[in-house]
Subunit: 396 residues, 2 copies
């Protein structure tokens, strides 16, 4: 008998490339030992959490025998923490935010789901820019919507505004962007974001319904060469910024994130009521209490981004020496080079022979390229260099 | 412009009674001081977490500066923890469970959502027994299914098997039970559960598709008078038990739960693959890492149930002295008495005049009764007695 739903059965037949590489990687590690495998497949930050997180958790532990230490709180998180987070984000996003413009969520993944559940009607479309994080498709389908990827400009992976404009229809409910971008490392410029906001403003008016601009930005803290990713919140009333503590505090397993909405939105109270409800009814109930208590104590602390900057340099040298074509990432911890020979799946398989794990671009809706996550020790990058060079030479 | 989806707009117009009482309660507390309000509205355990939780968290904090201390792990939780949990549940459920028969989730609410997402097709029905936890309806609608409540036997709140049998149709995908029960405190007997399993076995064969039996049992540890809630896992291949650490360890805010499936299920691997996927794609990603690390260290520890037993006694005396009609709860921390006068909403409003917070039975699909959560200090119960008596006398 068919024990799973038709949809989930279909999903399992098309398992994610990232997870597939994870499994192949586990096999290789079992065979050769973890230290002999160069694993660039997963964005699982290896840097320890900042000291403020460590100290904060010790303090939380010292208060753990109080009644309600781990009790329920409102579905949008502790009100006093929303207040504190709003103050922090006001500086970061260069706009004045209050506690009623910020809500806590179960990571950025939970945030996107809570948001989509609140605003999309079944049959509507969410546009994203390819290459894109494969989970976005599932998040849309969870709520009866469809993800519609629009290719980026292949030269620099910036949004192609003309292509976006022709993709928008009356069924469009949101445009979901990710900057700094996974997998390309692109950071969208202020000018691009302004033009995008203007486009959505016009289309919202034309169709008589808001088209939300959702910026998924967990890598905001990780911009190189002194860049400052611009904020979308001042640009458009229907703009929302989503982030998490997964990358900047190396806390991906604890699942804390948040949504900040534009203070220019008239229907603020309505949206916040909706998000509080969807946090609850999707089964998140509330963001994990210990993660919230950590955020309260460690807000504003980040891992040392110079370490990532050095790895980026090492990875760029490794790829350049190996003869790869790539756009230098401006942010995040990924490279997205062209696959020598053009077939990304074949090339990633060839890399496996060098005990190098990478993810085919096909897993991001962009065949012909592959993704390397450089949240690994610099030595791993340097030591993988000969393998990268051999694989490129073999297939070029 | 309508900024929320039609469904969520509708939900907000019919806000949950539990939450509404929570808000009214907050107002009363602001007006009279929290110590002058008798709050029986929320099942937020007030007992501190067991010592093993406190000690465990201290140990976790002492290791917090290790790389990957809070990293991603497989979507179903740490494999070694699934192993450990399986051993623990084998004893509890009186059946031999392995790591491939247990998966970690984001609380019991997350578990129910991950499970329903994995098995229901849009348009299918999930049967539950009224009175029932109002969130079940949302959990079904999240995945395109409909909740179909079947009234319990009003005498003792046990399932009415004849009514269940006539409610099952080819559209039925699951029967969701909750024992020990919220709001009634009923514990379903071994005989009842066997008969239910047999019924579902026959209906599954008749319709050529499995009808799952889901037992939501976070109150399993809290059974009075030496009772042992029987396990459904040995009874039926399509049986799953869902629970959490929210009540037994007073950890509701951290969102750790689990699903245990029957070892008699042939398609075990398929179901586990589905649940691992749905944990991921619903945006849970993984159960919170700190909660998992706590479970690893505190597994098997519970709050002191004698304290709840004493409160149950005090509450029973209070209600008896006030002239209320009620069935003595066998488990969990709720009473579900008849509302004097018959109108539960009117009666709960009358209780507010005594600064007593309760939830109308209407919020559980069962008008004419009301719910009292006795996870409060025994003094609160004793001190509320005159108010309970006055309200009953006024409306009887």
């Amino acid at each position: 008998m068919a024990i799973l739903s038709e949809k989930v059965t279909g999903y399992l037949e098309n398992a994610s490339w990232i997870r597939r590489m994870f499994e192949l990687g586990s096999q290789l590690k079992a065979q050769y030992g973890a230290e002999n495998v160069y694993d660039f497949s997963l964005g699982n930050p290896d840097l320890p959490a900042p000291q403020a997180v460590v100290d904060g958790l010790k303090e939380i532990a010292s208060q753990a025998s109080e009644p309600f230490a781990f009790g329920y709180m409102p579905n949008g998180g502790f009100p006093w923490l929303r207040e504190k987070l709003a103050r922090h984000l006001s500086a970061e996003q260069n706009i004045n935010l209050g506690a009623d413009e910020v809500i806590l969520t179960n990571g950025a993944a939970g945030a996107i789901n809570s948001f989509l559940r609140a605003v999309v009607n079944p049959g509507e479309e969410v546009i994203t820019i390819a290459p894109y994080f494969v989970e976005y498709g599932f998040y849309c389908e969870n709520h009866g919507a469809t993800l519609k990827p629009v290719p980026a400009n292949p030269k620099d992976f910036m949004p192609d505004l003309a292509a976006l404009e022709s993709a928008i229809t009356p069924a469009t409910r949101a445009v979901l962007i990710n900057t700094p971008n996974n997998p390309t490392g692109a950071i969208y410029s202020a000018q691009t974001l302004k033009a995008l906001a203007r486009l959505l403003e016009n289309k919202s008016q034309e169709y008589g319904k808001p088209i939300w601009l959702i910026s998924d930005e967990p890598y905001r803290f990780l911009a190189y060469d002194g860049q400052q990713p611009p904020s979308i919140l001042p640009l458009y009333p229907y703009a929302v910024a989503i982030s998490s503590l997964s990358k900047n505090m190396s806390l991906p397993g604890e699942r804390i994130g948040y949504i900040a909405i534009s203070p220019r939105l008239k229907e603020k109270a309505e949206l916040m009521a909706g998000l509080t409800l969807t946090n609850r009814i999707l089964g998140f109930v509330n963001p994990p209490v210990i993660g919230q208590q950590i955020l309260a104590r460690a807000i504003g602390s980040n891992v040392d981004i110079d370490i990532y900057a050095n790895r980026r340099k090492a990875m760029a040298e490794t790829l350049r020496d190996g003869g790869y074509e790539f756009v230098m990432p401006q942010g995040a911890f990924y490279f997205f080079p062209k696959a020598p020979g053009g077939d990304d799946v074949a090339f990633v398989k060839r890399l496996l022979e060098e005990r190098i794990l990478a993810v085919p671009g096909s897993g991001f809706g962009w065949p012909g390229h592959f993704r390397l996550a450089f949240c690994v020790n610099e030595n791993v990058i340097r030591n993988a260099a000969p393998g990268f060079a051999r694989a490129a030479a073999a297939l070029a």
